[in-house]
């Protein structure tokens, strides 16, 4: 397989969908996780249990639910979103948000005691308090982002169901691999798989560099 225009298109769409869903997931998941890590309120245990459960949501289940919601005969059918990149992003946000929320929560919870009193005694507002602690817990949050990215880019069940693997429209790397395999084109499938792995490796290298740096400063 050569890196033809079609292949670039598939890689580019994969990156677009994954990055969008991780970014949206971060916007929802990190504040949610931070709040859960910092504050206690009635019903928190249930929410925490739910988030941990959702961290292991089966992608195909998410796929079916999003499919039914967006189907022409479903409640959101009028939006005409099924078999589009947007539909894939919706499904992936549902998959990565609990991961981001859950890992942020444990990271923040770990840092909470050390910094809470200090920040409060310095007169920080609740908002500033949250920002400070999220900053201090960024190592853990970054690993959450890495986990979310890994989950999103390698995900196949949900994007196949709601995206449909349409050439030039919703074909991403994982669904392209499935297609290549199904047509007996194992070499092309394997090569695409290696590209996928290389992208994950690059992304995680950046994150690990960041986390290592922080660990070093933390050790001092």
């Amino acid at each position: 397989m050569m890196l033809t225009q079609d292949v670039w298109e598939v890689i580019w769409l994969s990156l677009q969908v994954t990055t969008s869903s991780v970014l949206i997931g971060m916007v929802i998941g990190i504040p949610l996780g931070a709040c859960l890590g910092l504050y206690t309120f009635p019903g928190k245990r249930l929410i925490v249990a739910l988030i941990y459960t959702c961290m292991g949501l089966p992608p195909v289940l998410v796929g079916v639910v999003v499919y039914l919601l967006l189907s022409r005969y479903g409640p959101l059918g009028s939006l005409d979103l099924l078999f589009s990149a947007e539909a894939m992003i919706i499904a992936q946000v549902a998959l990565v948000t609990p991961i981001l929320a859950g890992l942020t929560m444990s990271a923040v919870h770990g840092k909470e005691r050390t910094y809470w009193e200090t920040a409060k005694s310095l007169g920080a507002s609740p908002y500033q308090l949250m920002i400070t602690i999220v900053k201090e817990a960024r190592g853990g949050i970054w690993s959450g982002v890495a986990a979310a990215f890994g989950r999103a880019i390698s995900e196949v069940g949900a994007v196949m169901l709601v995206g449909g693997n349409i050439e030039h429209h919703t074909r991403v790397m994982t669904t392209a691999i499935i297609l290549e395999t199904r047509t007996g084109n194992f070499t092309a499938g394997l090569q695409l798989g290696l590209i996928l792995l290389a992208i994950s490796f690059l992304f995680n290298s950046f994150l690990i560099a960041g986390v290592l740096n922080q660990m070093k400063t933390g050790r001092r």
């Binding site: 078999f83 449909g164 395999t181 199904r182 070499t187 290696l194």
Partner: protein, 299 residues
Amino acid sequence: MMKQLRFFTAFLLLSLLLLISACSSQAPQSSTSSAPAASSSAAPAPAPAPGPATKEAKEIVLATTTSTQDSGLLDYLLPIFEKESGIKVKVVAVGTGQAIKLGEDGNADVLLVHARKSEDEFVAKGFGINAYDVMYNQFYIVGPSDDPAGVKQAKTAKEAFERIAGKKAVFISRGDDSGTDKKEKGIWKEAGITPDKSWYLSSGQGMGETLQMTDEKGAYTLTDEATFLSRKLHLDIVMQGDKSLLNPYGIIQVKSSTKQEEGMKLIEFFTGAEGQKLIGQFGEKEYGKGLFVPDAKKR
């Protein structure tokens, strides 16, 4: 800092090396592994056969297309065969493209597929023996019931496709190199039309998923009869009965298979009187007519 950096680059290099080695070792590995597999099964197979064959051969692999499984034909036929012969049939239902590849690599014992040209090539290249016609059914062109492209007025499949292209109505192709996909591509070629990607969507999935997508998008597609009838969707048949829409299935034995005798038994069952009668009856109750028409003969 330096130490860390060095460690990091070392890790990076190591991983890259691993990647490269995984990449390059793949090709020779597969060729060496497939070569002895093919030769060992061809040449010395008869010698050790009596020992392990009698034990293991109670199981054969049938590589087939999704339509025979999705329509329920195999669930209906194979238990009867297994009971009579005592041979267990493991079904791998994939697109015809992959089914044939499975046969070439010796990963299947018998093929039941529907792409005559590829089948003939498979036999001509020496991968397959004992090819039989088994049955046929029809392809339909299906679309939304209001038929915006006016396909219902078309007389032939070619004309139907011309109308769809003329109206730029959305057409969904399986695009998975399956028998149905090859048939569809053939009709476009015959009509001399190169579909434009603005209205021609390639789903890269099986017939069931593609029909689902066609229904959701209010589009047209080419489908095999069995899969279409076994799914209740909001789609109408807009074209049927044209000679170019016939869909013949063939059954072929894989030459490198170590289970010749068992494979042959399966072929005899499918092409024999009992199997043919069962195939003809299949689906009569649910759909009012059989999903497949039996027409067994040796090629």
